[in-house]
Every structure is written in structure tokens, then in C-alpha cells.
């Protein structure tokens, strides 16, 4: 019977080999497919067991933290709620949704990118992520909320020298502790980065940059400012159909003369205008440390809603030059325009993450300011600054004046809605103090009944600038 027994053992070896093969199949061959199966809750449970790091404002105010959720798991809590909901976003692992910095800085707060945690994470009973310090300023953010006073709109403020975002707030906001709650004045849509608004006359700063930096014009070049003029075959009027005669560009910016800037844009041509728009960041996603899905591209659109390719022969470059003609921008993009002029033409990469600190208090990563683009020559920036100073001192933006501190700015009042309707989109972009700008800002309010940038948006900007400068920015 010996040979039968040996053969029987051979069969048993084969059967056990089959077991080992199937174990290999599940543990190695199919493992990643199984780990990602929609039925598999283990990956999610492992994530839930990580005590994620906090997200903090620049003064140490806690914006997001992990609180125990039972069974060794954690959930996120947002002490500041709607105040920072758009910037910080939310992370709801159980529902598989996340937004804002919670999404874009998730690798830091989960502690996956920083040395020891990833190596020894398996051995420690609880995995702990790193803290993320942001550049956000709670006090100025609070002022922005107060100043908007419930009006739909957005405020973005940054440090032009570094690109550090200080304020990013839009009405309406939402409570990131409960992001799925619906309501009349609740939305996760972040108007600061996702909306598309006609920038109106604030865009004349871009047109002026192209005019001066290309060498085609100087601040003293004169252009006829009579109204109306025909632009792309359609008459264009100044505000109140006022005719200004021959005016220099400084005056034309100070009093926001549409016909002058539309003619300048047409004269410069699509190629030059598009070139300078691209230098400012138009036509591409802003380089913000924020989820790409929540960043809108600022660019002109055709009446049918389709985006014009850069330099399209179909676009009305004259009207684009005064911030109309289908041009739609984000408040973030317009804050970048102001910041570029403020920083001598050097546009810094905007960012909200300042540094990453591990649980031992050691800074494991610092975000160093980096240059996005040298948009214009420093001399052009200087000339523009003087022109924008005139806007605030004697032109349309006097409401942004600060006692003792010089402010440069530009207002905008884009008309929206059907022709003849009184709906406007008031804007203000600017920076201060002139000579050593520390704050650049963009403010817009959505769909006012005939409100002007100078009266609606400029006062909001003024208060935010004042708060940031008083904090020693």
C-alpha cells in the first residue's frame, strides 16, 4: 500500500499548493483590485483610524481638527465653520467627499509624506498626521465678512511680496461641519475661485499694462475720449455718454474712460493683449494650492458659452480691453493682477499653505515664496502704480482712501443682464501702501441694482486693507 500512500500524499500536496496559490491570488495578485473594490470598507476604515493633523490660521487659530468618532476612528471638526469653510473645505471620508485645503493638503494632514510616520505608522497604535499652518488671517477674514454684510460677493487679499493669501471669503458660505446641508444662503461653491464675473473697468489695469509695457504708449500718450465710438462695428459709449476729447492715459484710467481703453486695446491688437493676459495668469488655472476642480480659468467666452481660444479672431478685443466682451474672471485672478503691479511687475505664486509641522513641533516643510511670472518691467509697474494712485486720490476710487496711507486701485462697474437693465457688478482692485505694498486685494459684489465699484466695493477693500496693515502686514 506504500505506493498508494505516496501518491495520496502527492495529491494532498497538490491540494495544499492550490490553497497557497489562492492565498497568493488574494494577497498579492488581485490585492490592489480588492483594496479598491467598492464593497471593501477596510481601506476607508484604515483612513478613518488616522488622527489627521490640524489646519491652523497664521495666528494659530484652529480651523480644522480631528475629534474621536468611536472605535478608534476620527472625524473632522471645523471650529470656525462658515468663516473659513471655502478656504479650508471639508473632508468626509465616510462619504468619500472632500474639498478645499482638506483635499489639497490631505497628504500633509494624513502624515503620509513626512518621514517617520510612513515608516513606523504601522507599528504605532494610532497614526497621527502633521499640522498645516496656513497664511490665512482670521481677523481680516472676519472684517471681510462684516463688510460684505450678507451681500453676495467675494473678497480676496494677499501679500504681493510672497503670494500668501490672507483673506479668501465669499458670500454665501456654508458650514463645513455639515457640508451637505441645503439652504437658501448655503453653498459649497467658492465664488472666489470658481465664479466667472465680467471684471469691468478693473481690467483696464491689464490693458494699461499691455499699452505701457509693450512701449506703444506712455502714461502721457493722448487718445480721443469722445463718446460714442464704434468698436467691432457696434457703438460704445462712456458712462453718461460723456465726451472727454483728447485725454492722456493717466486721466483715462483715473476717470475710467471706456472709449479710450477700447481704442487702446484694438490698437494693441489681439496678440499683444492675449500675451499680457497670459502673463497675468489668464487662460490657465491659477497656481493656487487648492483642488484643481475648484479653480476656474479666467478668459473670454463666446455668446454661445464656449471659451474663445487665446487670440481668437472672433473675440471683441476692444470690449475685452474694458472688461466686457464675454470676459469672465475669478476674484482670485483680479487679486493676482493687483498683486503683480504692487510687486514691481513680479507676480508671486499665490498660496495658502505656509508650513507643515509634525507632532514633535518640528517644521518638516516650509512653503517658500516663488515667482509665477515677471508680468511687466518694474518701470511699467511704477508708472501704473502712479496712475492707480490717481484713481484713489481723485478719480472713481476715492472711497478706498486711507488716512495717512497711500492706496493704489481701480474700480469697475460691469453692466450685466439684458441691455438697459440696471444690474451691475461692482469691483475694486488695489494695493497699499504705495512704495512698499504689503497688501493686494480684489473685491466684487454680485448683481447690485446700479451699484458702482467706487461706492460698493471700494469701502470694503479699504477696511480689509486697513485691518491687514494695522496687523503689521
Amino acid at each position: 500500500m506504500t505506493s498508494q500512500i505516496v501518491r495520496l500524499f502527492g495529491l494532498i500536496v497538490v491540494l495544499f499548493a492550490l490553497l497557497i496559490f489562492f492565498t497568493t491570488r488574494w494577497t498579492v495578485i488581485d490585492a490592489s483590485k480588492l483594496d479598491n473594490s467598492s464593497l471593501n470598507r477596510l481601506t476607508l476604515i484604515q483612513e478613518l483610524k488616522i488622527k489627521r493633523g490640524r489646519i491652523l490660521a497664521d495666528d494659530g487659530t484652529v480651523l480644522a481638527r480631528s475629534v474621536p468618532a468611536g472605535g478608534g476612528t476620527w472625524k473632522r471638526s471645523y471650529p470656525t465653520g462658515p468663516l473659513f469653510a471655502q478656504a479650508v473645505g471639508f473632508s468626509n471620508l465616510a462619504q468619500g467627499s472632500a474639498a478645499g485645503l482638506e483635499l489639497s493638503d490631505g497628504s500633509y494632514t494624513r502624515g503620509l509624506q513626512t518621514g517617520l510616520n510612513s515608516i513606523f505608522g504601522q507599528l504605532t497604535p494610532t497614526r497621527v498626521g502633521d499640522d498645516v499652518y496656513t497664511t490665512l488671517d482670521p481677523k481680516a477674514q472676519q472684517v471681510a465678512v462684516q463688510q460684505l454684510g450678507g451681500q453676495v460677493g467675494s473678497v480676496v487679499a494677499l501679500d504681493p511680496r510672497t503670494g500668501a493669501i490672507k483673506v479668501m471669503y465669499a458670500n454665501p458660505s456654508y458650514d463645513d461641519n455639515n457640508p451637505t446641508a441645503a439652504g437658501p444662503n448655503v453653498t459649497t461653491f467658492n465664488r472666489s475661485t470658481q465664479a466667472g464675473y465680467p471684471p469691468g473697468s478693473t481690467f483696464k489695469v491689464v490693458t494699461a499694462t499691455a499699452a505701457l509695457d509693450s512701449g506703444a504708449y506712455t502714461p502721457n500718450s493722448t487718445v480721443n475720449g469722445n463718446s460714442p465710438v464704434t468698436i467691432s462695428g457696434v457703438p460704445l459709449s462712456n458712462d453718461g455718454n460723456q465726451s472727454w476729447g483728447n485725454v492722456d492715459l493717466t486721466t483715462a484710467l483715473t476717470y475710467s474712460i471706456n472709449t479710450v481703453w477700447a481704442q487702446v486695446a484694438e490698437h494693441l491688437g489681439r496678440a499683444t493683449m492675449t500675451n499680457y493676459m497670459q502673463r497675468f495668469g489668464f487662460y490657465s488655472k491659477p497656481p493656487l494650492d487648492y483642488p484643481p476642480d475648484e479653480l476656474n480659468i479666467s478668459r473670454p467666452f463666446a455668446p454661445d458659452g464656449r471659451a474663445y481660444p487665446p487670440g481668437s479672431p472672433n473675440e471683441d478685443i476692444g470690449r475685452i480691453g474694458i472688461g466686457q466682451g464675454g470676459l469672465l474672471v475669478t476674484p482670485l485672478q483680479m487679486a493676482m493682477v493687483a498683486a503683480a503691479v504692487a510687486n514691481g511687475g513680479k507676480l508671486m505664486v499665490p498660496h495658502m499653505t505656509a508650513r507643515v509641522v509634525n507632532t514633535d513641533g518640528v517644521t518638516v516643510k516650509t512653503i517658500t515664496p516663488s515667482v509665477y511670472n515677471q508680468v511687466m518691467k518694474p518701470s511699467t509697474a511704477q508708472e501704473l502704480t502712479q496712475m492707480m494712485r490717481n484713481v484713489v486720490e481723485e478719480g472713481t476710487g476715492t472711497a478706498a482712501q486711507l488716512g495717512g496711507i497711500s492706496v493704489a486701485g481701480k474700480t469697475g462697474t460691469a453692466s450685466i443682464g439684458a441691455p438697459g437693465s440696471n444690474l451691475t457688478e461692482p469691483w475694486f482692485i488695489g494695493f497699499a501702501p504705495i512704495g512698499d505694498p504689503k497688501v493686494a486685494v480684489a473685491v466684487t459684489v454680485e448683481k447690485t441694482q446700479g451699484g458702482f465699484g467706487g461706492t460698493v466695493a471700494a469701502p470694503i477693500a479699504k477696511n480689509v486693507i486697513q485691518t491687514l496693515l494695522s496687523e503689521g502686514q
Binding site: 500500500m1 506504500t2 505506493s3 498508494q4 500512500i5 505516496v6 495520496l8 500524499f9 494532498i12 500536496v13 491540494l15 495544499f16 492550490l18 490553497l19 497557497i20 489562492f22 492565498t23 497568493t24 491570488r25 488574494w26 494577497t27 498579492v28 488581485d30 490585492a31 480588492l34 483594496d35 473594490s37 464593497l39 471593501n40 470598507r41 477596510l42 476604515i45 484604515q46 478613518l48 483610524k49 468618532a69 468611536g70 472605535g71 478608534g72 476612528t73 504601522q122 507599528l123 497604535p125
Partner: protein
């Protein structure tokens, strides 16, 4: 070195394993290494030494590797059960004591195990009686739709199939010893296949009928496969006729297919096996258990997540993510925590034990001893295959225990008796003088 001294040395790795294992679980659990892990190691070593002394005094020539291999499996099982539930581990340790007592009793009472042959019909009828117990009203109960347990209210719960498998092997070893010659020589050849005479074919049909009955009555493919496979293995070794095995397997496959499609519970098990990741996942008695067992294995990967890292309940609740982790699904927990390599090591230990059992069978000097050792070893191997194969989706999942590792008193005690019988056969086979 004498066989017994080799056995004693073989226990050292098992004791180190249990100490290291408990230390690992303790570190994971409380971040401290308490000397309790050493206490557990010492107690376990003490139990092993007691077993060793029994063997040394009664079976001086028995195989020196069987007991240490079982000790390694049992110690690993104890660590796993402890990691799943400390209370269960304490009970499991108590069952080890009971098992060792019964182990010693079996060795002493059946010093000449061949007298078992005298009681073969008593043994087979008691075994068959045990098998139907779970269907008796008031006594039996169903777990997950299969009738495998008997509850004696206020006393204990046990799984008769664990004991019945030993009784059936004893009976068949004795029966085949008498008839193996006739089964081969007395047959007629039809279409080149040797069929045994009808008179002797009867018992084989009975075995087949028994396997089918287990499926019909107990709703359990696993036990059915375990019994039938074990008995078929013995038939093959006794007769050397592969044709019997082929016919037997075909008959089983036919019966299993018919019953699998006609008994709702068995059919459900087959469907869960074929489509674990579909809609069945959400159904009661659906593929939730097998799917999550496979997810747990995937999480383990090659080296495992470490002791205590397998997620068994949904965090924040007591809802099971991996139902029955201490019994049916223990292999999934093992793979999750010690990985492919750890699980393979466990399977290789089983294979080594089976190899020692077969070695005893080959060395035995009479047919009954050979067939007894083959039957016990084969049914042990098939039991491992049935449960691990179920968890790894080689075959439909059914609830038999992983011998010496799964939690369960019946399983521990029955397998210690099985070990005692194998050691008895081995001792007689290896003793220098024929007693």
C-alpha cells in the same frame, strides 16, 4: 538522540512562538510588554511538557515530530484566538487541558488500539447517531443554515461531526482490512474498469449515501466532502484502484450538483462562492462573510499587517465586518495579520503533520494500522483543505474548524484523540520488538 529527546527539543520552538506571539499582541494592545506574555508561554510550555511526559512513559518509540508540530499549531491558534477575544482564549486554554487529559486517556485505555476492531459496529453506529443529533428537535441547532451543533441545555454545546469522523475512520480501516482483497480480485472488468462484486460494493454505496445524507440533513457540503474524501482516500490506499476513486468522485459530483441545485441553503453557498462581489453581498446569508474574508486577506499582503491589526468589527459599533473570525474565518485573520508568508508557513506545518501520519502508516506492520493512520491523516488534511479552501474561495465556504487553531472545544478534544491514535500506531510501528 532518542525519539523522545528530539520531541522535547521540538517543543522549544512552539513555546518560543507562543511567548513571542503573546508579546506581540500585548505590545500592540497596550504598548507595554508585560510579563503576562511570559506567563502564558510558561503555562503553555508546562502543558506541552505534561503531554510529552505522558508520551515518554507510554509510547517511547512514537514519532517524535507529531506532538511538537501540533504544539506549534495549537500555540499559534491560541495567540490568534487571544488576539480576537481574550475570554475565548482562556476557554480555549481550558479545552487544551481537557484535550490533553483525553489524549492521555486514549493512549492508556487503547494501549493496544487493535481491540477497537472488536467494537467496529458499535463505533460506526454511535458515529452515525452522532451525525444526526444536530437534526433532533430540542438538541440540535442550525448555525448559518447548516446543522452542525448539539446543545445540551445548561451543560455544553458540541459538534458531533468532529468525533464522528474518527469513529468512521476506525470502522472503515477495520472493514477494508477484511475486504480489500475481495474488492480488487473478485470483480469483473467492464469497459476496462474493474468493478467490485455487488456484495462488496454495497458498503461503498453506503458511504456515498452517507455523504449525500449529510448534505440533505445537515445542509453542509464541507463536512460531506471531508467524510467522503477521507473515506475515498482509504478506499484507494486499500485497493490501489484509481477507478474506484474516479467513480466515487463522479458519483459525489453528480450528487453534489443535484443537491446543490435543489437544497436552498447549499445552493446559496454555491452562489456565494461563485459571485461573492455582486448583489449577494447585501443579502442575508449572502457573500458578505466570504467577500470580507477575501478583503482581509488582500489587506494582509505578503507580510501581513501585524498582530491585532485586522479589522474585525466596524469601528464604533459591534457589527461584525468579518463574521466568525475565531472559527470559520480564522485563516483570513491569520493571512491579514501575518501575511501570505505566515499563512503558507501554517499550511506547511499542517502538511508536515500529515506527512508524519503517512510515514506512520507506511511503517505500520498490519493493514488495519496502516489504513487507520492513512484515514486519520487524510481526513485531517481534507478538513484543513475544506475550511482554508472555503476561505480562499477554492470551494464553497462551509463551517468546519481549522484543526488545533480555530476556537472550539469539540474540535480541540477530537483532534487530540486523533493525535493520540496516530501516536499509538506510530509507536507500535517503530518499536523494535513486535509486542
Amino acid at each position: 538522540m532518542s525519539a523522545r529527546n528530539r520531541e522535547l527539543l521540538g517543543l522549544i520552538p512552539a513555546s518560543l512562538l507562543v511567548t513571542a506571539g503573546f508579546a506581540g499582541v500585548f505590545i500592540q494592545r497596550s504598548n507595554v510588554l508585560s510579563n503576562v506574555s511570559l506567563t502564558y508561554g510558561a503555562i503553555f510550555l508546562g502543558l506541552c511538557l505534561a503531554g510529552h511526559v505522558v508520551i515518554r512513559m507510554t509510547l517511547p518509540h512514537a514519532d517524535p515530530y507529531m506532538f511538537p508540530l501540533v504544539a506549534a499549531l495549537a500555540s499559534f491558534g491560541l495567540v490568534m484566538v487571544y488576539r480576537i477575544d481574550t475570554t475565548l482564549a482562556r476557554q480555549q486554554a481550558q479545552w487544551f487541558v481537557v484535550g490533553l487529559i483525553l489524549f492521555a486517556f486514549t493512549i492508556i485505555a487503547f494501549r493496544d488500539y487493535r481491540k477497537l476492531e472488536r467494537y467496529r459496529y458499535t463505533i460506526v453506529f454511535v458515529s452515525l447517531g452522532l451525525l444526526v443529533l444536530p437534526r433532533l428537535p430540542g438538541l440540535g441547532y442550525a448555525a448559518n443554515g447548516a446543522y452542525l451543533g448539539v446543545r445540551i441545555p445548561g451543560l455544553f454545546v458540541f459538534q458531533p461531526a468532529e468525533f464522528a469522523k474518527i469513529g468512521l475512520v476506525i470502522f472503515l480501516a477495520s472493514y477494508l482490512r477484511d475486504t480489500r482483497q475481495v474488492l480488487v480480485t473478485g470483480g469483473r472488468r467492464i469497459l476496462g474498469v474493474t468493478l467490485p462484486p455487488i456484495k462488496h460494493f454495497g458498503p461503498i454505496v453506503v458511504i456515498w449515501g452517507l455523504a449525500m445524507l449529510i448534505m440533505v440533513l445537515l445542509h453542509d457540503i464541507g463536512s460531506s466532502l471531508m467524510f467522503y474524501g477521507g473515506l475515498l482516500a482509504m478506499l484507494y490506499v486499500a485497493t490501489g484502484r484509481i477507478s474506484f476513486v474516479v467513480i466515487g468522485l463522479l458519483a459525489f459530483a453528480l450528487g453534489a450538483w443535484y443537491l446543490g441545485t435543489h437544497i436552498a441553503h447549499v445552493n446559496a453557498r454555491v452562489e456565494d462562492w461563485l459571485h461573492p462581489f455582486g448583489q449577494l453581498y447585501y443579502k442575508p446569508l449572502g457573500s458578505y462573510q466570504i467577500a470580507n474574508g477575501i478583503f482581509a486577506q488582500a489587506a494582509g499582503g505578503m507580510f501581513g499587517q501585524g498582530f491585532g491589526q485586522s479589522v474585525l468589527t466596524i469601528p464604533g459599533t459591534h457589527a461584525a465586518l468579518l463574521p466568525a473570525p475565531q472559527t470559520d474565518m480564522i485563516y483570513a485573520v491569520i493571512t491579514d495579520e501575518v501575511g501570505l508568508f505566515g499563512a503558507t508557513a501554517v499550511l506547511i506545518v499542517y502538511l508536515m503533520f500529515v506527512a508524519r501520519g503517512f510515514k506512520a502508516a507506511i511503517m505500520a506492520r498490519d493493514s488495519f494500522s496502516t489504513l487507520l493512520a492513512v484515514g486519520l491523516s487524510a481526513i485531517f488534511a481534507i478538513q484543513v483543505f475544506v475550511i482554508v479552501g472555503g476561505v480562499t474561495r477554492v470551494i464553497p465556504l462551509t463551517g468546519v474548524t481549522l484543526p488545533f487553531i480555530s476556537y472550539g472545544g469539540s474540535s480541540i478534544i477530537a483532534n487530540f484523540v486523533l493525535l493520540a491514535l496516530l501516536l499509538l500506531v506510530s509507536d507500535r510501528a517503530r518499536s523494535p520488538v513486535t509486542p
